[in-house]
Symmetry: D2
Subunit: 349 residues, 4 copies
């Protein structure tokens, strides 16, 4: 199982949803960076469950502890280990998962691949694991802030049928965190919240689009052939549970442009490329859109296969998000911070 | 610069568009596999330029030579090196590229990143390099064929405004190679060819969508956390020049489905996931769509920045594809073969 | 900083001597292996300080906790994380290390390389970190035991001037753990213990040789060119603090043999190669000798350079081993278990 | 099979002894380094066979060709590929190797591991492959020369019973290449040459010691835990065929020193550590001794096992070195250059 990600700024993840704790080792943090604990906690708070009525009601404070690699408030160059206790496991919720394979989850493939699985709350494949990524991403951001004025941002731009009506750059992205759905337009946000609430009442779920951008990215990040910046970003993004699609710049819309329209030239400058030319950051904003499927865990009765290949009609318990996007916004930001920090250091060689 | 790709079935690429040759080292080919030279040449023939009126007129036979790793017709476990000579370089075409930065190309970012660049035909970032990937992909396919009945296929499903009208599974994909545009519907293919011919006359370019699938993929390929099969496929696919978007299964369309509609259950079986659950192949067909931008190289006069930051009005010479998709079909197949072979071997551990 | 070791059976180490805890993540443990906690504790007990009069008097029970990757007593394929609390830190011992660079230690090079260092008990470079390696090595051994009857053993064969008088294969290696110095000959062990006691009274230190062997190693471990089994063993062994020399089989003595004497042929079979031919295990016992320097930390007054480049005459406090070899025996066994498990899995591909 | 070595300055090796060519891809050479072809050829000339009466009589000029990565005389950052044709294969020599397993060679373990082997001249495990390492090492040296005044040197310090009588630092190492045996003392060199000539007449072989040093190595190369400079040097050195032992600084002799004698302090400065403290270069000269076994290939009749497990009495043909050390000197220098360049770049992060 591959639990390390990154080449120079490398993270190693461990833990399960219902174990004692989850954690992450960050190897490659340069030395002498001030470790702002509030900054890290703030990132975790954005992701933690139980923040609002439209997210999972599992109550986890996600209070973290750094147990290595920091000395007198600064990184030493040694690996930084962050532990986040699990405190609100409701293991009884999962008794009936022991023998069934939930749709859209890892249950069946784990059983086939490993011949054993920790079925409590999804075990290793739980979205809870992403708390470690977010903590590590905050460290990446602290490093990037210390060397360059890069800004990494994400917003919810669409939920089900409700989408931001204007080009995303018209909004003030900083306002996304002003509401629980993380949409920078207050009016649209309210519509999205009502939609999610209604879906929640139906015990169903919805997906949508998160848009993200890296502002003021230095020119030259990304390798020309096999570690293209977009290729590595895509690997990090598709690592996030529930992601089904990704596009850079105009993405799927470039299909409807001729080369003469799509090219950014001296007289018709555009950012159709989304800030990356031939795999390397070109100094423009890096822009991407990410499609998330509706949450697989729903509270509606479904016909589900069990370990013996029999079909059972079941309602699956658990405290699930009717829409993962609001909590996925800080995860997307974390993943982009991690891959950017890694490429920043790769480029220094 | 990263020029190796893969963990166990690993390729190392080298060469430039207008150097003596390009090549690839395949490290990790299991021993005792019969190396069918015709099979490799056939794959290269599908990619080579000059095949039809709608592709680049550069004439390269892409005749390859294996110079290591094969003994008496079989792989020995040693690295297999394939050399493909460059024979039809027209270096004079590129004299005017010495001082200008072509739109949508690596020219400017290379100069910034390395302080030097081989400007002949794009040098290292030329699409010519993909010939090596195709040869390596053929070896991956030979390996896969020897152990499992996996079938990897790609087709052109859309060019500019012309798209296949029916769900892609309704077509016989084997017929894609019956025409030069690689669309499995003869009628639509003819429309596409006429469109590309017209665009070529305009000296402009167009993009589109390549759809791909992996049939009969064994369950269990992909790692649960950081080497998810979809994450690694995405890295390989975005490594292909001109790719701007990627989706698995229903992809961006899952936004418009509720969880109860999207889930594949015992009573409403579907393949909305595109054959991968939680990062691991689930035994269904793996299905993806890939958006390609219109070729950046066009023959229309453009205002272009030069090395001194001045704008020049120029027509860029060269023998370019008005639409890269027909020749990208075997490249997509090769990349999918490579990543599948790697995960097949990773899963054997 | 590189804190991961191994390709498939991979460990990631973290922690400092005087932090809250040290730990290790084992990634690549196959699933469904029974995790025998006593077996792991037993390995840690062999390494822990305070075992006898001739080792460091720091009192650490090295009681470990597994916080991930094990479900109902078995490995799940997920990363296994082992935490070992530090309980007996005497930070006052290290106040005077803040400004001086101890001879033979990492102090000066850390300061130069990172511009900051955790000076408490050696921080990241403390031998305490090896507790994690030993725990991981025990897991490697549990895996190996489940698939093959490989036996990995080490003994102290020489301390300073006192060496085992007969060829090492004449001894019963299992008796090494019958005494605190880990020498399989009771008479020689007693001599060694008295020598170390005397050196301890002098507040000085001594080194020596640890010999190790892998019995019943399957043929074929090791790669022909760049991951030769002996090359990778050497990397693991020189990772152990204080190791200054290594030889396989007859090692430096092969210098005094002609090829006709050194070769193992059908009529004059020998194991001069030490069980590895051309980088690959050949089915004979793998045999090696490892030279350890005398402990750098001594209680004798020394002239030592401080951070300002001035010389100070100092006695360095701390609870050090007058001879590291007895406690290094389980560390050598752990490192050999780790590299063997990794190559066993690499060979399965 | 692992055919890549290094993390940032990475080489990929390919080819067999009796194939068309051997080669190496150097990935990670920084851009804008002048590529001095004579410098590379000079390094190859020191290693090539047929240089003198005491080396193999195979005649290979080892004329190389660079086919990628260099543009107008300078590195571009793209992978540099060097091809070295095989011109003097005498395949008839090896007909009788098809069915027997030579002592001390890879023959038997290859057959077991891969179920197939290229038996011509050792195939992939031939020492001929080291020509690629030497070429790559010359590139590493060109890079190092461009950034720092590091000097990497090796000498033959002992052949069989004939050893340099004085501490190695007393000699002018530059004089080693004044004679065919590469010993810096002309008198001792002559003795060694006569000894080897005599051994050659006996159709037997001898080994010895190569000593090496890195002068003016910058402080800080090497990582504290798992990529210790000595650990990685050891991996590169044990990668060289026929190496059976390695020691740094006083190495095995530190066994006979007490800590108070071995430590380098302000009042008793020494280099017993061999220039590396706790895995990191400390600014002193890095010094090592390497034991080479006698050449396994001898011309004396031996009883040898064949593929069927039967014993044959045979004289093995071929053009072998009665002593590999003279030609191994540039190989040791190349390996040290490669690992130093890699750590220099790793340290820049």
């Amino acid at each position: 199982m591959a639990n390390s990600l990154g080449q120079i700024f490398k993270i190693t993840s461990f833990g399960e949803s219902h174990g004692k704790l989850i954690g992450v080792v960050i190897d490659g943090m340069p030395s002498n960076i001030e470790i702002d604990l509030n900054f890290i906690q703030n990132a975790l708070d954005k992701r933690k469950p139980g923040q609002s009525d439209i997210t999972s009601q599992r109550k986890e404070d996600d209070l973290f502890e750094i147990v290595s690699g920091v000395f007198e408030g600064k990184s030493t160059g040694a690996p930084i280990t962050i532990l986040i206790p699990n405190t609100n496991q409701q293991t009884s919720d999962y008794d009936n998962l022991k023998t069934i394979f939930r749709p859209g989850h890892a249950d069946k493939v784990y059983q086939e691949k490993y011949g054993i699985r920790d079925y409590m709350g999804g075990g290793r494949s739980s979205a809870r694991i992403t708390a470690g990524w977010v903590a590590a991403g905050a460290l990446a951001q602290l490093f990037l802030n210390s060397v360059y004025d890069i800004k990494i941002e994400a917003i919810v731009s669409q939920i089900y049928t409700i989408a931001l009506p204007k080009p995303y750059n018209h909004y003030n992205w900083a306002q996304a965190y002003d509401n629980v759905v993380r949409c920078p337009d207050a009016f649209v946000a309210e519509e999205m919240i009502q939609l999610i609430s209604k879906i929640k009442e139906e015990k169903d779920s919805v997906g949508g689009i998160i848009s993200a951008r890296i502002l003021n990215c230095p020119i030259g990040l990304g390798e020309p052939l096999f570690d293209k910046l977009n290729a590595n970003i895509s690997k990090y993004i598709f690592t996030i549970n529930a992601v089904k699609g990704l596009e850079f710049g105009e993405g799927f819309q470039t299909i409807y442009l001729k080369g003469s329209e799509n090219n950014s030239t001296a007289n018709s400058s555009n950012n159709n490329e989304g800030g990356i030319s031939a795999g390397i950051s070109n100094g423009q904003n890096i822009e991407l859109n990410i499609a998330f499927k509706p949450t697989s865990s729903i509270g509606i009765r479904q016909n589900i296969m069990n370990k013996n290949g029999e079909v059972e009609s079941l309602i699956i318990n658990g405290r699930h998000d009717p829409c993962v996007l609001p909590r996925a916004v800080p995860i997307v930001e974390a993943m982009l911070s991690l891959v950017t920090a890694d490429h920043y250091l790769l480029n220094k060689k």
